[in-house]
């Protein structure tokens, strides 16, 4: 296989396989969760569960008070840096937007590539910081499983290979780009079977917690 065939395959068949597994997997995960159901709360409600549930879906993105933010500052900061970085890199880079346009039929403005490039570096730096903490902090050492490290790789490598493609590093461009796209596909394939599902299920989790708190009259 030469580089052109490789690139063609990852852009075609590879992408199809990955997308199907990704979508199918996410749907299955939602069904697995929702089919378990939640019993009605028969206690007399003090407040509205619905409004608090919806509110919590978004408010939980910010720590509940400044002392909590202070105590978890490292996690809070690095978490935000790489999430925002990922968002910029994935959704605001011109070639990525073209790709989305080919699927969705519409596009949106991009940000100049050098700036996205800067965000890519920020993302990788903060991901490395997160990894360092995971390897050294006693609590995270207790919690972490091989899946945590695997998912880290699944997240880090696409950013790295994208960066390397743009800067024409290591491999000839086509191979580098193909590797980048393949790494994204691998992430999509494993996504529904790892903690990456949090990207979608966190809204459910926040809703459940927020609605129960709201019924008790507590702001969560």
């Amino acid at each position: 296989m030469n580089s052109a065939e490789f690139l063609l395959w990852v852009r075609g068949t590879g992408l199809q396989i990955a997308t199907v597994i990704f979508v199918f997997g996410i749907i299955v995960r939602f069904l697995e969760i929702l089919s378990l159901g939640r019993k009605e709360n028969l206690a007399e409600h003090r407040g509205s569960g619905v409004s608090q549930g919806i509110r919590t879906m978004f408010s939980r993105s910010i720590p509940i008070d400044k002392n909590t933010a202070r105590r978890s500052m490292f996690t809070f900061l690095t978490g935000y840096v790489f999430h925002i970085g990922l968002f910029v890199v994935i959704f605001l880079l011109a070639p990525h937007i073209s790709f989305f346009k080919s699927i969705l039929g519409f596009a949106w403005p991009s940000i100049s590539t050098p700036i996205v490039d800067f965000f890519a570096v920020l993302t990788m730096v903060s991901l490395l910081a997160v990894l360092y903490r995971r390897i050294t902090h006693p609590v995270l050492k207790t919690l972490s499983t091989s899946q945590d490290y695997f998912v880290w790789l699944l997240t880090f490598i696409p950013v790295l290979t994208g960066y390397m493609s743009y800067h024409h590093l290591l491999l000839p461009y086509n191979w580098m780009l193909g590797t980048h796209i393949l790494s994204v596909e691998l992430m999509l394939i494993f996504f529904p079977f790892t903690k990456l599902t949090h990207a979608f299920t966190l809204f459910l989790a926040r809703w459940y917690t927020g609605s129960l708190a709201g019924q008790k009259g507590v702001k969560s």
Binding site: L36, K39, L42, G79, K195, T197, H198, L202, L204
Partner: protein
């Protein structure tokens, strides 16, 4: 209680996993922020105490039973089974170092209600026989005797006799049609008998009718603490039956944290039907009386006071403003501690921890968190509204050689009640000086 076994434990855990639990496990990213919010971790510094780790066995059951890949792995014999040894090991995490205070649930960035997961985990622990002996004892006494501490009706009647003599008031038992059914915790009956007298004085002065029940005087629910819904339901249904029989309008839960959670929020769900009566914490009742102008106090405490928020009352119970409204009636110098209100730090003794001898050292170390809140606040007294918090706070303060009295809010309010007749006016003036 039926025979415990690993199979029963695993079955219990399976039944506990609902959509919320599945969403929570799907969303946890192992970020560790829950540890930063947990006083057992922050003061004992044991990394194993990170809250989400307490439910790891349940997570594996979720994976193996309710996820595609997990079930596939199980079929192929690739999954790690939950064993009895593991559950035994987990007792230390699930009971010795957790009061179900709920701070972790408030800080989790993906919105996991971790403390509710730990409560569910206890169902599996109890059903498999892995709950601490102290709690098993308390539950057994609750079911067989009617009180976790073994308090029987004659003892309650003796305390009532004492109270009648002290206050000159009536303490009705089994009166039909009263507005309020008063419950008591064993801790109050044995250790803080002034509480009953305080309630009687206040309700009497407010012109409210009330009663005790000879069949259901106990508020403490050991079933909630050990994590057995069967036991919890049995204990709640005694109160429900009594309340229904006596046709009361409201059941009053006393100054005890987990008792409130048990009857107010878990109760109807445990017995499977809505209640035909209201449930209120004593502070909710007192605040209503205050708002209606029926709670008349006089005199102010000069001491600088602060309030410790019992976790089950405030964060888990939603009774947040009432203690403050009430304290401000009688406190001229009330200050809030750092993190006061919904995010206040648990005292460290509830949810079965104080009944569990294995947890003694951990519990006292966890008190350091409350100590840090008090350092530099410069208060003369600490006020709270939970008998268990009270005794543990006294213990911790004494352990740290801190000279700070701990006061119960209901008793304080009763002491400041405007007295009725003229001959007692002089007495009232003296007491409030």
């Amino acid at each position: 209680m039926s025979e415990a076994s690993l199979e029963k434990g695993i079955q219990a855990l399976k039944e506990q996993i609902d959509a919320p639990v599945a969403a929570f496990f799907s969303s946890c990213t192992h970020c560790g922020m829950c540890a930063d919010a947990c006083l057992f971790y922050t003061e004992n510094k044991d990394p194993e105490f990170v809250p989400i780790h307490k439910v790891e066995p349940m997570r594996r059951i979720w994976e193996q039973e309710y996820t595609l890949v997990g079930r596939a792995k199980k079929l192929l014999g690739l999954s790690k089974k939950v064993t009895d040894e593991e559950l035994q090991e987990w007792q230390h995490l699930v009971y010795d170092s957790c009061t179900l205070c709920g701070r972790c649930s408030m800080v989790c960035p993906v919105g996991n209600d971790i403390s509710s997961m730990i409560r569910k985990m206890r169902e599996g622990m109890a059903a498999s026989g892995n709950a601490p002996p102290g709690l098993i004892g308390a539950s057994t006494r609750s079911v067989e005797i009617g009180s976790p501490m073994g308090v029987r009706l004659p003892a309650v009647q003796a305390q009532i006799k004492h109270a009648v003599k002290e206050t000159g008031l009536e303490y009705p038992m089994d009166r039909v049609g009263a507005e309020y059914l008063v419950l008591l915790s064993s801790m109050e009956i044995m250790n803080y008998p002034e509480y009953l007298q305080a309630i009687a004085k206040i309700l009497h002065s407010a012109g409210k009718t009330w009663t005790l029940s000879s069949k259901a005087f106990e508020a403490t629910n050991s079933g909630i603490q050990i994590g057995s819904s069967d036991i919890a339901a049995e204990l709640v249904s005694r109160v429900v039956n009594a309340a229904d029989e006596l046709k009361v309008g409201t059941v009053i839960s006393p100054e005890c944290g987990h008792a409130y959670t048990a009857i107010r929020w878990d109760g109807p769900n445990l017995v499977g039907k809505k209640f035909g009566f209201k449930v209120q914490h004593i502070l909710e009742v007192l605040d209503e009386l205050r708002a209606a102008g029926l709670l008349k106090t006089e005199g102010m405490e000069d001491d600088k006071l602060t309030f410790h928020d019992p976790c089950q009352l405030v964060r888990k119970g939603g009774v947040i403003e009432q203690p403050r409204n009430l304290l401000k009636m009688i406190a001229s110098d009330f200050v809030e501690m750092e993190d006061a209100g919904v995010m206040n730090w648990c005292c460290g003794a509830g949810g079965g921890v104080s009944a569990n001898e294995n947890a003694d050292e951990i519990r006292l170390k966890a008190f350091d968190r409350k100590k840090k809140q008090l350092d530099g606040l410069g208060v003369d007294a600490l006020v709270t509204a939970c008998a268990n918090c009270r005794i543990h706070l006294e213990d911790g303060l004494e352990d740290n050689e801190m000279d700070l009295p701990v006061l119960g809010l209901t008793e304080m309010l009763a002491e400041h009640l405007v007295k009725e007749s003229d001959s007692s006016e002089e007495k009232a003036n003296d007491i409030s000086n």
